[in-house]
């Protein structure tokens, strides 16, 4: 497999490892956290591997920085995708599906709130663009969106069989997103298992963590709502390490302490520790998951000749963009005492 891998994808693995080596180091983060203004942050970013991405910009804002950083990642991803062959091409498409799901959720929300389609398309994530997205302009309601687009798009295979165009507009958007994401994650897991070898080992571990994280996050977020256990269970991906009994128990839990107890039993108890000791109240459960996800994605680079490096690069780069935006927000809001509360990426 190693010999075959290098003939087809060795170049691209080398490229993505080079991209990963260009990510921000601890010294770069130190320089960013010491900036006094957004303009200083933009100057510091241009001194890193991002390069001169703000050359044509005159106005300085956090949204502009986020947009330019996202464009850089998109450019790198498109380069890899354009040079890839099967099954790497399908693997890279799977990386894009969550962004497609986000874009479709945005369109559903916007159409339900009578927003103009052109404005909604501008807000879509470029990583989640697909050919049929341009045809969505003809849809003026979520029912038309379901008929005209979802059936003929790459997301069609993730639509649950019980979805119907008449009920589509009545279901909460977040539940639609949850159901689509579950189907996507299980399909991705099965695809990676089918690839076998190191890719299967690395990706199945990453995806099963993602599945468990989704289960716990949905459970915690659904606690103060009226979602039934059946609604919750439908959104839980089953490809994680949490057994079926744990999933059924979590779907029925209505108390935060019981969620913690169940996660202790399943090996995720560390996620809930130390949260009370965070005096600023900023570090939450999601931050703990992000830190563990960052560590797992960095570890995937310890092995060679597998597709997991591409997945991990996209995840780590997005986390890096979020960290930069957090630093920018702290500087813009003049709350620099919290600027070091970004998620560390243990690259070194």
């Amino acid at each position: 497999m190693s010999l075959l891998f290098n003939t087809e994808w060795g170049f691209l693995e080398g490229i993505v490892r080079g991209f990963k080596n260009g990510m921000l180091k601890h010294s770069d983060y130190l320089a960013l956290t010491q900036c006094d203004s957004i303009e200083d942050v933009m100057m510091s970013i241009q001194g890193t591997d991002y390069g001169n991405i703000f050359a044509n910009d005159r106005k300085f804002s956090v949204d502009l920085i986020e947009k330019r950083l996202g464009e850089k990642l998109l450019h790198e991803f498109n380069y890899i995708r354009a040079h890839s062959t099967e099954p790497l091409s399908s693997f890279l498409e799977y990386i894009r599906y969550p962004y497609m799901i986000d874009n479709v959720s945005l369109l559903i929300s916007g159409l339900n709130n009578n927003r103009p389609m052109k404005r909604l398309l501008e807000m879509c994530n470029p990583l989640g663009y697909f050919d049929q997205l341009a045809a969505i302009e003809v849809a003026v309601s979520s029912v038309e969106l379901f008929n005209a687009v979802l059936i003929d798009t790459p997301l069609a295979k993730f639509i649950p069989p019980e979805f119907h165009e008449d009920t589509f507009g009545e279901i909460d958007v977040e539940i639609v997103r949850g159901l689509l994401y579950r189907s996507y994650l299980e399909s991705y897991y099965a695809f990676c298992q089918g690839l076998g070898g190191t890719t299967s080992d690395v990706m199945c571990k990453l995806l099963s963590f993602e599945a468990d994280r989704r289960v716990i996050t949905i459970t915690v977020n659904a606690l103060p709502t009226n979602l039934t256990p059946n609604d919750r269970l439908k959104m839980y991906p089953t490809c994680g390490q949490l057994p079926d009994l744990a999933l059924r128990t979590l779907s029925e839990i209505v108390d935060y302490e019981r969620v913690r107890d169940m996660c202790n039993f399943a090996g995720y108890g560390d996620m809930f520790e130390n949260i009370e000791r965070d005096t600023d109240g900023l570090i939450g459960l999601e931050d703990r998951f992000l830190m563990l996800e960052a560590k797992n994605n960095v570890y995937s680079y310890l092995q060679q000749f597998h597709f997991g490096v591409f997945y991990s690069y996209v995840k780590l780069k997005q986390l890096e963009v979020r960290n930069i935006i957090w630093i920018c927000e702290c500087i813009a809001q003049r709350q620099t005492d919290k600027v070091n509360a970004y998620i560390p990426i243990p690259l070194e």
């Binding site: 929300s109 709130n113 009578n114 807000m123 709502t225 957090w326 702290c330």
Partner: protein, 174 residues
Amino acid sequence: MSEPKGPSIRSSEPETTSSAEEAGCLLDSLHLHIFHLLEDQVVQHNQLSRETSEARMILARVRLQEGNQRTAAEAQLPRCRPYKALCRLVEEARAWGTIVNLNRLAVEPCRGYLQPVTNIFGALVPMSLRVASRKWERCVDQIVDCANTQRELQASISSIRQLRRSLYPSYPHK
């Protein structure tokens, strides 16, 4: 926060020299009352500023945690779809003027009183967004307190002007 009772000028009509002294004491009391109100106003503004800063920081944290997984808020804000407000402002009379009271109604989806955070952002709202929403609700309470203090301050200033005009009618008052 305590509400210092403002002295009223209606019961004091200077007719004799002792009445002029009383009016002078009343004027002093009103000035002191203004200083107390200014102090209260500064404290309230500082509290409001601190609360809004914390809420904005939490929103920035939500942006870090959720990344692109959350749909843009602009697409989710309700438009052209009427819903009933949970907060009502009611004016209440006081000796010196009127204040506003904030009445909060209970969430009752069957009667159209929806919870804003879930109505706008869907069923699975992250915990940090709920915390930010509660902070913004506290900010609304503090804004009402600031408005009431400002009203009382304006009423006291008007009272001082009236008293000065009656005490010194020939003096050019601004």
